[in-house]
Amino acid sequence: MPLVRKRRAVEETLSDEESEATLPQRRQKQSNILSRQQQRPPIDDDQDDDDKNSDEAALGGDTAADDGATQGDSGLTTNQLVKKLVRLALACEFSRQPVRRADISTKVLGSYGRRFKQVFEEAQKQLRGKFGMEMAELPIREKVTISQRRAAQRTDKAATTSKAYVLTSILPPKYRSVLPPPQVPTAYLESSYVGLYTFLISVICLSGGSIAEAKLERYLERTNADQYTPVDKTEKLLQRLCKEGYLVKIKDSSGGEELVEYMVGPRGKVEVGTVGVAGLVKGVYRESEVGNLDARIKRSMGLNGVGKKGRNKEEQRRQTGEAGSGTRNVPSQRRNMEEGEASGVSDDDE
């Protein structure tokens, strides 16, 4: 019983044109797969003799007519590797583990390591076409502390990709809104968990990408979640969030005393992302009550650089708020109000 979390990480509002452009293509591909799928002969174990046929029928002549189909005689067919990869991806997602390239090599490919690209692409196609999901590569960890940066400089070749993937839904947003929350372990716990991490990630994003531990604690205290949350003890919740990659805890003792900060983790970026944060903020503020909301959200998250048209008061406030995020500035009145409202949201979530 695998499952994928329906999240809104796919950029819907911020890059409409892009998705418009790619979607029809995708559709096209899917229908190709499917029409072929129906003609596919049943998969047997004694496939060896008709390897070539079934490979081509199932994988689609256009892309898979390359080496895979011809290598099929050497043992496991590409099809079987694809199947294993899809199952691995579904299983990993169930327990919120990323699918790592190393795992794919050992558990799926085995001695067929050279076929990674082909198998991976085909698995993506199957996931998109049949499950409405795809594997999204996690962003690489940012090098934040000085020691991390130094370590990165020492290595000759810095990793450019994380080589770890998570499953995300690629269904259009209108479908996602109607799907029920996953019942793993229970619908209540799962939706509380989703609500909590969306809230925490939003707080971090709106504080400029990182937040000092003390400040995060203060937010949790305001939302009455500093000791216990519906999911677990707050301490354990934070641990779990870090383990599953929603948050990253950064300890930096380079400056003498130890600074502990939280940032948004790779999974958080993929699953919630700026769109999720924007959604939460919109849910709190309603477009009608606060004008120009989209622009403000973008600004708060630093999505477009400093505005050219001279800063208005609001922006200045944000800027100072962000600059002082580590040092417990005395918050302005407006800020207080916002926090109050944000806590309202999280209460709903709980």
Binding site: M1, P2, V4, K83, L90, Q126, L171, K174, Y175, Q183
Partner: protein, 333 residues
């Protein structure tokens, strides 16, 4: 494919995702989901009411999903509930491999506890005399320790997990785990405090149960035929863990409560289809094998549903009531 005309599209994918998120659904639960999917999928403004969703719609979507996922050794199976015949669909992984063993939220200790519970349900509390196939709270929690055979008789619940080798769970953990199994829909708890496997668990574990418990018995050499601890309903051929049994103890006919009506109407007689003994309808499979006994009822009357004497004690009393043939198989292990 039954969704003739239209291709496999986003509505199918959405349905599949909903299914994966829920694990198991019956028609009543699926209806609002399908209605919502139809509404967003259909033309602008055309809203599909819940009542407009028919079972045929559901079947066609299940068939389409099955068609898409069968290649990945996943399947949406359905099974009528043993009690009221409402059909339940569940997404089942048809093979077990290292790939999918990650897909659990439970620790290894909890899984081994689950195995002990299953052993108890289908071996300890599933004897030729009494096919309970269920386990009470007390019995379940007592299994918290990972006992080796030598310790098996020592089920005094005094000791926590101070024992060394087998570990297992603490009693509190066992209780919590048990609760989570119920919440996640693997077990069902009856009003009398018995845990049984839910239809979803039966579907998922069918293969495992049959191979594990219906294989040749432990001392199978002397019993020439293989032990069939888990039987199928004589009428509908599904597994039976709750239902009625033939009054003749040796006879292997078991029938679901709901199946009896149809079967006996068709047969025009209320006799066991195999051994022709009169079907009294008072011999049960499942928790009623215990709860209809005089001993149980007496206990209830005395304590008004409060703390009961342990199940083992009751069963032994009951053994005396019935023409008791030795208690060796009844007591814990």
């Amino acid at each position: 494919m039954s969704d003739d005309g239209h291709q496999y599209n986003d509505s199918n994918r959405a349905f599949l995702q909903a299914f994966m998120a829920r694990g198991a659904l019956n028609f009543k639960e699926a209806r609002p989901i399908l209605a919502a999917i139809f509404t967003v999928h259909g033309k602008q403004g055309a809203e599909t009411a819940e009542e407009d969703v028919t079972e045929a719609d559901m079947l066609s979507y299940v068939a389409a999903a099955n068609n898409a996922i069968s290649f990945f050794d996943l399947e949406i199976r359905s099974m009528p509930s043993q009690v009221d015949r409402t059909r339940i669909w569940a997404l089942v992984n048809t093979t077990s491999d290292p790939m999918t063993q990650l897909a659990t939220m439970h620790s290894a200790d909890e899984i081994s506890y689950l195995k002990r519970l299953l052993d108890a349900m289908f071996e300890t509390y599933n004897t030729p005399r009494q096919e309970i196939m269920a386990i009470t709270d007390m019995q379940a929690i007592k299994l918290h320790k990972n006992l080796s055979e030598s310790q098996a008789n020592n089920t005094q619940d005094g000791g926590m997990t101070q024992n060394s080798a087998g570990k297992g769970l603490t009693m509190a953990d066992a209780e919590r785990t048990l609760k989570s199994f119920v919440e996640e829909g693997w077990f069902e708890r009856s009003r009398n405090g018995f845990f049984t496997l839910s239809p979803r668990a039966l579907m998922e574990l069918k293969q495992y149960l049959v191979t594990t418990y219906n294989g040749p018995g432990d001392e199978g050499e002397e019993e020439e035929e293989r032990v069939e601890r888990i039987k199928n309903c004589h009428a509908c051929r599904e597994l039976i863990t709750v239902g009625q049994r033939c009054p003749t103890r040796e006879c292997a006919v078991r029938i679901h409560d709901v199946c009896t009506q149809n079967l006996f109407r068709a047969l025009r007689e209320r006799n066991c289809p195999k051994c022709k003994a009169e079907w009294v309808g008072e011999n049960y499979v499942g928790e009623r094998a215990v709860t209809t006994t005089e001993a149980w009822l007496k206990g209830r009357r005395r304590s008004k549903g409060g703390a009961r004497t342990s199940g083992a004690q009751q069963r032994s009393t009951q053994l005396a009531d019935e023409e008791g043939a030795g208690e060796e198989e009844e007591e814990e292990e």
